[in-house]
Amino acid sequence: MTRGSRISLFLMAAGPLAFFAIFVLWPLAQSMWYSVTKWNGLSDPVFIGLDNFARALSDPNFIRSFENTAIWLVVAVTVPTIVGLLLAVLLDRPLRGSRLYKSAFYLPITLSLVVVGQVWTWIYQPDWGLINSVLTAVGLEDMTRAWLGDPDTALIAVILAWSWQQTALALILYLAALTTVPQDLIEAAAIDGANARQQFTRIIVPLLRPASVVVITLAVINTLKGFDIVFVLTKGGPFHMSSNLAMFMYEETFFKYRLGYGAAIATALFLLAIIVVVVYFRQARASERLYG
């Protein structure tokens, strides 16, 4: 390779990498440093070791947010996967109007979570929201409530609104993956007498395993990042009942000016994400070997 080539290539790589280092990697490293400091954003950060992490473990609001994130994760790995897969298999055949159906399910993924949050306000609104309207219409007025203001329902209401978009994403990914399922495999199974359920559980589900890995990984990552929808719908309230780690981190940092503590929560989120990355790459490698 010529000297000119080398210089060109170096510049080609160094330019973008410099931006990545300055605006992604360096802030990441700084966050880790701040996570072991006490800092209000004005005076200089003071090193306090792992106190922020110890404090989190005895902070009921952190524990609440952590538990809520765990509940959220359970919904995230089940609902979009199961509903999205079922729907994809049902829509992936010559159904009258299936093109139109698909468009209806595609629309949500183009929307911002800010808009999704707004859209769901129309469902949860206490006076004329869809749920309360329907409940009143069928005579179940006792069950109406302020879904987002009620401590018992706020969290699940937020998670459902989020799942609405996430399931649409899962559906799209599964529909795309279904195009790669070899037709003759299913025909062969049908000739051998496999019924629809057997075809689904023995052939389609195993063949869609790589897609499932992607769907679940995205759901988990989006759960960890999940801030927008909480902020728009409840800001974590009432009484932190619908808070999650991302929301709690924001609250401690920008409402309470505990930047060291906020950085510690952010670092915890980052470590959780790294676990997901490692598992994902191993799974991706494994399925590549399996399916060539």
């Binding site: 992604v24 802030p27 859209v119 075809q199 924001y250």
Partner: protein
């Protein structure tokens, strides 16, 4: 896309599948359609109603008069036009720059082996998974103070302008753009570069005259995805802007939500306006968009 290939049709339909089962399946699809359509229809209905009509009858009925007054009100009485301009000022350059950076990195990573190439590549694409919270506080601080290099101020504090969002989205976006461009360029016929180099071309002209024109499908995918994500982003404008002059449309919606708590009709109109660009992009480039979602996540 999975254009009606009839994957299970030969086994189910026409083989006398029990009628009740078919009912259950279609019922499921219908129920899901309602769940997906209802909130969107609710917003659209609200956006053409008057606030007094909503107060009196709620939103779940045919509007008494389909009026575009709310859109006019939002356009004239709120900073919505400014917000939209800001969103475009962030989204277009950030999309362009992140794709350009991905093209450059993708070329280097796909055509050459060098020490630590694999590791560098992994670090960059792992960026897809980093929660933005993990960069939030340092970037907030960085943009709140003037930027200095060796004690010389090279930039004023960029807080409350659109520039920090461009820099951040462009940098984080490199993860997905590099991944897709490397994969795409690896699949191009090898020897393209060698032939051009033998003819005396430099690396830059190989990349931009030969490789990039062959990569247009991948570029369309990335531009579509990046536009949508950056347009829809909320966290960075929330943290990095304060004034109406710098807010993007998503931050603006959220800010107005607090101010005009009762004006449901106006909120709905604003949500519709804010969603139009991404919906248009999606409809125009649906094929690329879906290909991107799958490629970006499936291939390692």
């Amino acid at each position: 896309m999975a254009s009606a290939r009839g994957m299970t049709s030969n086994a189910d339909d026409g083989r006398g599948r029990p009628l009740h089962r078919s009912f259950v399946l279609h019922g499921f699809i219908l129920a899901m359609l309602v769940i997906y359509a209802a909130p969107i229809i609710g917003v659209i209905l609200t956006s053409v109603m008057t606030n007094s009509e909503i107060a009196a009858r709620g939103v779940w009925h045919i509007p008494e008069s389909a009026a575009l007054q709310n859109f006019a009100d939002v356009w004239n009485d709120t900073p919505t036009p400014r917000y939209l301009v800001n969103s475009f000022m962030v989204t277009i350059p950030a999309t362009f720059l992140s794709v350009l950076g991905g093209v450059m990195l993708g070329y280097v990573f796909s055509q050459f082996k060098f020490p630590f190439a694999e590791l560098l590549f992994l670090v960059v694409i792992a960026g897809m998974f980093f929660p933005p919270q993990a960069m939030l506080i340092p970037l907030f601080r960085m943009f709140n103070s003037p930027m200095e290099i060796f004690g010389f101020q090279v930039l004023p504090a960029l807080y409350d302008t659109v520039y920090p969002m461009i820099l951040i989205h462009m940098s984080i976006g490199l993860a997905i753009t590099t991944l897709l461009m490397r994969n795409f360029m690896s699949a191009l016929p090898s020897g393209l570069r060698e032939a051009a180099i033998v003819d005396g071309a430099g690396e830059w002209s190989v990349l931009f005259r030969i490789i990039v024109p062959l990569s247009l499908p991948a570029l369309a995918v990335l531009a579509t995805l990046q536009f949508t994500w950056i347009w829809n982003d909320f966290l960075w404008p929330l943290v990095l802007t304060r004034s109406e002059e710098a807010k993007t449309i998503m931050a603006g919606i959220s800010a107005l939500q607090g101010q005009y708590n009762v004006a449901w009709a106006n909120q709905a109109a604003m949500a519709v306006i804010a969603s139009i660009p991404t919906i248009v992009i999606f409809i125009a480039f649906q094929r690329y968009f879906i290909a991107g979602l799958t490629m970006g996540s499936v291939k390692e």
